[in-house]
C-alpha cells in the first residue's frame, strides 16, 4: 500500500512525528482585562458567601469548647480524636 493511502494520511516532512504533535496546541492566554473581570466575579461570589456571617452553631460550638466540653458531631464527619491537625491525611 502506498504510504499516501494509509489511514494515517500522506507521509511528508512530518513523518515520524505523532499525530498529537502535528495538531497545534490551542494557546489560550487571557488578557489583563479578562483576568480582572474573572477575578471580580470570583471576589463577588466569595463575598456573597462571606456575607452569610457566622451561623449560631459555631458560636455554640466554641462556647462549649471553651467551657471544656467536647461535643459530638451530628454531621457527616464524626470527630476522630486528636490527630495532628496539620497532617496531610
Amino acid at each position: 500500500m502506498d504510504d499516501n493511502n494509509k489511514p494515517g494520511g500522506p507521509r511528508g516532512p512530518m513523518a515520524g512525528t505523532t499525530q498529537a504533535s502535528t495538531v497545534p496546541k490551542k494557546k489560550h492566554s487571557l488578557n489583563r482585562e479578562t483576568q480582572i473581570k474573572l477575578g471580580t466575579q470570583l471576589q463577588n461570589m466569595y463575598n456573597a458567601y462571606l456575607n452569610e456571617g457566622t451561623p449560631d452553631r459555631f458560636r455554640s460550638l466554641l462556647h462549649s469548647l471553651e467551657a471544656g466540653e467536647m461535643p459530638g458531631i451530628s454531621g457527616s464527619m464524626p470527630y476522630e480524636g486528636a490527630k495532628d491537625a496539620s497532617e496531610e491525611s
Binding site: 489560550h28 492566554s29 487571557l30 488578557n31 482585562e33 479578562t34 483576568q35 473581570k37 474573572l38 477575578g39 466575579q41 470570583l42 471576589q43 463577588n44 461570589m45 466569595y46 456573597a48 458567601y49 462571606l50 456575607n51 452569610e52 456571617g53 457566622t54 451561623p55 452553631r57 459555631f58 458560636r59 460550638l61 466554641l62 462556647h63 469548647l65 471553651e66 471544656g68 467536647m70 458531631i73 454531621g75 457527616s76 464527619m77 470527630y79 480524636g81 486528636a82 490527630k83 495532628d84 491537625a85 496539620s86 497532617e87 496531610e88 491525611s89
Partner: protein, 185 residues
C-alpha cells in the same frame, strides 16, 4: 489540656465566615461546608499545642480545613459534584436577576475545575492569601500555586466561553443572537 485563652476562641470565631466561604467554594454545598468548618474547629481546638502563637491563625485553620477536604474528597470522589444547583437562591442577600445568572454560571464553572486548581484560585484570588501563604496551606511550592492559578483562570475562561472582556455580562446571549442574525443578512 490547659484551657485555651478566650482570645483563641474569639480568633477562631472571627475566622469562621472566611472558613465557610472557602469551604463552600471548595465543595459547593453549604451543609457539607458547615460540617467541614465544624470539624476544622474541633481539630484545631484539640491540637492547639501545635499552633505557634504569633503566626497566622487564619492560615493554620485554612490548612486544617483544606486537608480535611482533600481527605473527604478522596472518599467521595465517585459522587457527582454538587456544582449545578441554584445556590444563589439560598443566599440571604439575593443578587439581581442578571448578576444571579452570572453568579450561577461562574459558580458552575468553578465547580468543574480540578480541586487543586480551585483551591489555589480561591486562596489567592479571593481569600487574600499571598502565593507563599497559599503554598504553605496547600503544602506545595510557590511555583506550583502560580501554575495552578494560571491554569484555573484559563480553564474558567474556556468553561465560560470567554475570549475577551466583551463576553462577560448579561448581554452576552443577546449579543450572540444579534451577531448570528447579522450573519444571515
Amino acid at each position: 489540656m490547659m484551657a485555651p485563652n478566650p482570645s483563641v476562641s474569639e480568633a477562631m470565631l472571627r475566622a469562621v465566615p472566611s472558613l465557610r466561604a472557602f469551604a463552600i467554594s471548595l465543595c459547593g454545598n453549604v451543609d457539607r461546608a458547615d460540617d467541614l468548618v465544624q470539624e476544622t474547629l474541633l481539630r484545631a481546638w484539640a491540637n492547639l499545642n501545635s499552633f505557634e502563637p504569633g503566626t497566622n491563625m487564619s492560615a493554620w485553620l485554612f490548612t486544617i480545613l483544606r486537608n480535611l477536604f482533600r481527605s473527604e474528597y478522596r472518599k467521595r470522589r465517585r459522587e457527582v459534584p454538587d456544582g449545578e444547583g441554584t445556590y444563589a437562591e439560598t443566599l440571604k442577600s439575593q443578587p439581581e436577576q442578571a448578576s444571579r445568572v452570572e453568579f450561577e454560571e461562574f459558580r458552575t464553572a468553578l465547580a468543574k475545575l480540578p480541586s487543586d486548581q480551585r483551591e489555589a484560585l480561591v486562596l489567592v484570588g479571593a481569600s487574600g492569601f499571598s502565593y507563599e501563604e497559599a503554598a504553605g496551606i496547600c503544602g506545595c511550592a510557590v511555583g506550583t500555586i502560580k501554575s495552578r492559578v494560571n491554569r484555573a483562570r484559563t480553564r474558567l475562561a474556556e468553561l465560560m466561553s470567554i475570549e475577551s472582556v466583551d463576553d462577560f455580562g448579561p448581554d452576552r446571549e443577546l449579543k450572540a443572537v444579534l451577531s448570528s442574525g447579522s450573519g444571515n443578512g
